[in-house]
Amino acid sequence: MFTAEMRELIKKVEATRTQRLGTAFPRMSPEEKDEVLKAYHPDYRESGFRALSLGVNRGDKVPVELADLLEANSRLAGQPLDLSRPAYDVDVLIVGGGGAGAAAALEATARGAKVLVVTKLRLGDANTVMAEGGIQGADKPDDSPALHYLDVMGGGHYTNKKELAAALVKDGPGAIKWLNDLGVMFDKEKDGTMVTTHGGGTSRKRMHAAADYTGAEIMRVLRDEVQNRRIEAIDFSPAVELILDADGKAAGAVLLNLETQEYLVARAKTVILATGGAGRLHYQGFPTSNHYGATADGLVLGYRVGAELVFADTIQYHPTGVAYPAQIFGALVTEKVRSLGATPLNIDGEQFVYHLETRDVAAAAIIRECYGRNKGIQTPTEGQGVWLDTPLIEMIHGEGTIEKRLPGMLRMYRKFGIDLRKDPILVYPTLHYQNGGLLIDEHGRTSIPNLYVAGEAAGGIHGRNRLMGNSLLDIIVFGRRAGAHAGEACRNVRLKALTLDHVAKYQQALADSGVVTDRVSPLVLPHYTHGRHED
């Protein structure tokens, strides 16, 4: 339900609507984009970052909340653990049960490997289920992997690792087909043509979708297939430290059973980290669209064994998080809402940015509108937001479009008394995605032998900014690649004695670099109190 003040302001939006409809708002020039990014994008706010004082990336700046976890004690410091009697002994250990982990599990299993998936929450509890808008893939006749590559590189400001971007676009159509053949229900016309839209920064309409449940639909199919293939998956058992062997090869992980609080040793010939993102660290105090489990655990584990971080200082703020109502503050309003024609408007009902700029530019423009130009709309929680004029969608595409193409959004708002077919909604950028992560090669390998990373925890594919629909693609492409490679490579691995010496060394490095702290990492679970202590 909107407040009376908001109701008044909505009248201004309604007043300009017919005049705005059909009038194209100009895209920004490269110089204008640069200017708004530098002045308003949170990545450029120096106080949000700190240089690391130890490890491979010593001297590199990362978000302070991440630095706090990288410069923290191991949960296992001082814990006696018998590594010689592992509870699990497998070929491929996959840490994380989202889209990347599940895709990796299926491919490794298909190659005959014995696979174990361990996950912090349940199999499928991951950012994958919340990817609403779609998955890119250059399959249509007027499109090509090369055109997709150009969009990916331009979106990433030409910083992407070329071979990773190339692998992403080249495997794109194959990934869509793989999912289709597993029974993912993509939106299609009667003749089999996929219903596709633009995302911010795309030159072709290559966003394939399953209504606005795309990621959820993909995840439930992959989970079902993991279960059909009888792949062992253990819920509520996050990895809290990687294990190496005497040669320094990845050789397993220490798991924490969240119910019994016991530590368990999993020995493995290859390890794939697919732990996802970091939104629940709430960089710079931003709300997040991320899953409850998105606490950067994999980055901490990988960094402690010496894997390198890339682009860890670039965070994606999704331009349209929920600004109101407070109950769903920070939740995602899928970019598909803008793909279908909804435009951002200020307090006077005027558009101030082209609706399909890349996410970084759109987010910066919204922050500028609110705090640079004071044209935002005040919310009861003392924040600000801008309008997203959703009723335009049905004026453009016809009545019933929202119910058919955005049923999740319609339901979410309806539960709080807002009908986005009739009224615009209030949005503000929300912490959405870590563009960077642990550096991989095109097979998902890190510099640590037999350690792979896939999904949001990996870095380099998207450079400094990811386009919509390339994350669902990335988790499938690189999940499959890592799973396939690890599933083959494990045959030739001979493990030596397991060790946690690297943890002791990291503890020593902390002391040597003067970090004195009682912080412990990985975080595993966030802690919320919703203002109880101020009451």
Partner: protein, 226 residues
């Protein structure tokens, strides 16, 4: 600070006073819980937070997703963080989209007594009994669309006197639909073959060889589909 409106809720029977503006999930955290089970995406998509409640003084049991529902005064709350539903294993490649599939894998759907408890219980407001009826008739496409917004929270199955695991039936129908009943996308198959045969390698390699300045020029003047 302005006086907050507070309400009393009962978590597993124990009373807590919490701000009326919070969702049930947030209210549990306000009360001091650090959630392990019963919490997932916090956006209504994952089905982890199925919750059963009754308002003090009323008889009716209600259900909801705790992340999508505001607290009300007098709520007696219990979560359903796990439901031991029965999923049958199958090889999708070997199935055919005929009514026989359901008879083999989920024969209990034919024991539905029509009580409609599943539909009344669905927090997504799906017509659950209706999509089970579609499955009984082998009308998988209808079953698929009617069950599409399912988040597999398990509440339907927990209420079913015929021991049907509805959400698994819907999932099977959707996978059959996606794989076999939806029309084939011919150009997708073609493009995958072209890529396998290396037909796009040269264009991609040329693009990768370009300098950043060349890429910028190409990007800023690229033609954008209307």
């Amino acid at each position: 600070m302005a006086e907050k409106e507070m309400v009393d809720i009962y978590l597993l029977g124990k009373r807590y006073t919490v701000p009326a503006s919070l969702t049930i999930m947030d209210a549990m955290e306000y009360a001091g819980y650090q959630l392990v089970r019963g919490c997932g995406c916090r956006s209504g998509f994952c089905g982890a937070c199925a919750t059963i409640y009754r308002i003090k003084g009323q008889k009716e049991l209600k259900v909801c997703l705790s992340c999508q529902t505001k607290v009300e005064d007098g709520m007696y709350l219990a979560q359903l963080p796990f439901f031991p539903g029965d999923k049958r294993e199958y090889n999708l490649d070997e199935l055919k989209p005929t009514a026989d599939v359901m008879k083999q894998l989920y024969p209990e759907i034919y024991s539905c007594i029509g009580c409609n408890a599943c539909t009344k219980a669905c927090p997504q407001e799906l017509k659950v009994m209706q999509y089970i009826a579609f499955a009984q008739r082998g009308d998988f496409e209808k079953c698929a669309h009617a069950s599409f917004d399912c988040v597999s929270c398990g509440i339907c199955a927990s209420r079913c006197p015929a021991q049907i695991t509805h959400y698994q039936v819907g999932l099977l129908a959707r996978r059959l639909t996606g794989k076999y009943l939806a029309p084939e996308t011919g150009y997708l198959t073609d493009r995958v073959r072209e890529i396998e045969q290396g037909e796009h390698d040269q264009a991609l390699a040329e693009m990768m060889d370009k300098s950043a300045d060349e890429m910028k020029a190409l990007y800023n003047t690229r033609d954008i589909e209307k």
